[in-house]
Point group: C2
Chain length 220, copies 2
């Protein structure tokens, strides 16, 4: 079997479980049963290995998302927020065809990427797939014309937080859910639970006075 693939497969799983910084090249090459030096030989550095791991998923996912957004933009608008969010489901779940447990792994990696190395992944995705993300934002804007752009900005990032945090700690949460409610929830279950939550959250009315009395409010 190809050394590069062995490394990528071992790396993605370890990265997803423990994060990028807490996974050493020695752990990766041991699990992959390849020589330590082969990472630097094939990928150049650990940083580039991380990028390669993420790119393997992003280059499949993002074009499909782009296509879905285009289809939605071609139809008469506005679309409902749950409909727009549901667009993510199929491309995400198709990652399971790319790799076993691909959806779960990718979302965990996304969570790690956004929290482990501050700002790096955000910049990377924005730089490479900014146009696709813009289409999504446009759809949401058309769906929620009552929301100022800045409110939408914050709410979309709150939503990103729900997603990546949930995915980063997905295993722990699934364990608790199993223990406390005897309920086994897989990645599709989590997504199905997220969508109505996020749809309601993003479209929430903008309250003007949520702060308790005595607290000066400084929102522009």
């Amino acid at each position: 079997m190809n050394t590069q693939l062995k490394i990528l497969d071992a790396a993605q799983n370890l990265f997803a479980e423990a994060g990028f910084n807490d996974t050493s090249l020695r752990q990766i090459t041991t699990k992959a049963e390849v020589n330590l030096a082969s990472v630097n030989y094939h990928f150049g550095s650990k940083k580039e290995l991380i990028q390669a791991v993420l790119q393997r998923y992003l280059q499949v996912l993002m074009p499909r998302l782009d296509h879905e957004f285009d289809q939605l933009l071609a139809k008469t608008q506005p679309h409902s927020l749950p409909d727009i969010l549901a667009v993510f489901v199929k491309p995400l779940l198709e990652l399971n065809h790319v790799q076993r447990k691909g959806t779960r792994t990718f979302l965990q990696l996304l969570g790690r990427g956004y929290t482990d190395v501050q700002g790096h992944l955000r910049w990377f995705i924005n730089h490479h797939y900014g146009q696709t993300l813009d289409k999504f934002v446009l759809l949401v804007q058309q769906s929620c014309p009552h929301l100022p752009a800045s409110v939408l900005f914050w709410r979309l990032h709150f939503s990103l937080g729900s997603i990546v945090f949930t995915m980063a700690s997905n295993d722990a949460l699934a364990e608790i859910a199993l223990a406390d409610f005897n309920e086994s929830v897989d990645i599709e279950g989590v997504i199905a639970r997220l969508i109505p939550y996020l749809a309601a959250a993003i479209a929430a009315p903008v309250l003007t006075n949520v702060m308790p009395t005595g607290v000066t409010q400084t929102v522009a």
Copy 2:
């Protein structure tokens, strides 16, 4: 000035900015202008220093939250979700009296703690302050009797994700908001934006069919 305090102050700021794993004792002791060995002398280990940093805030915050929850539980119920969530605001902002920029620092630390070292902080808080959290969950349950306990569980964790992720990347987000919308948002501004978002999200109706056709849904 007290060495312990110098260490705690330097550590909390570096931890909040870069995370626990990416902050070395050498950085901390250099910034605190104390000897490297003093961390182990005063706190025993880096792990215990992390706990001490978090405890300094938690031991102030949690009893106050507990008291607020008791007051709400003593009144006639149910309370509205924004009211329940607003209970967090005053105790959180009072952390600014404990330390300069205390609220911001604490919330960033919370974000780091939940994402950096998987599961550790969750266990710690549950173990030490589980009773207080139970009171909060009870209030939310009474406010949303239509929501099954397991749905509430997931939604509260989604919410936790929004909060800690936002706080962990608060600086980056604030920068973008300033650049894109010429809008400077401080920690109070973020909280004010979070509350209506979370209130709507947690209370969202439970949709039964959000998944696209062809996707088998496995929610219990």
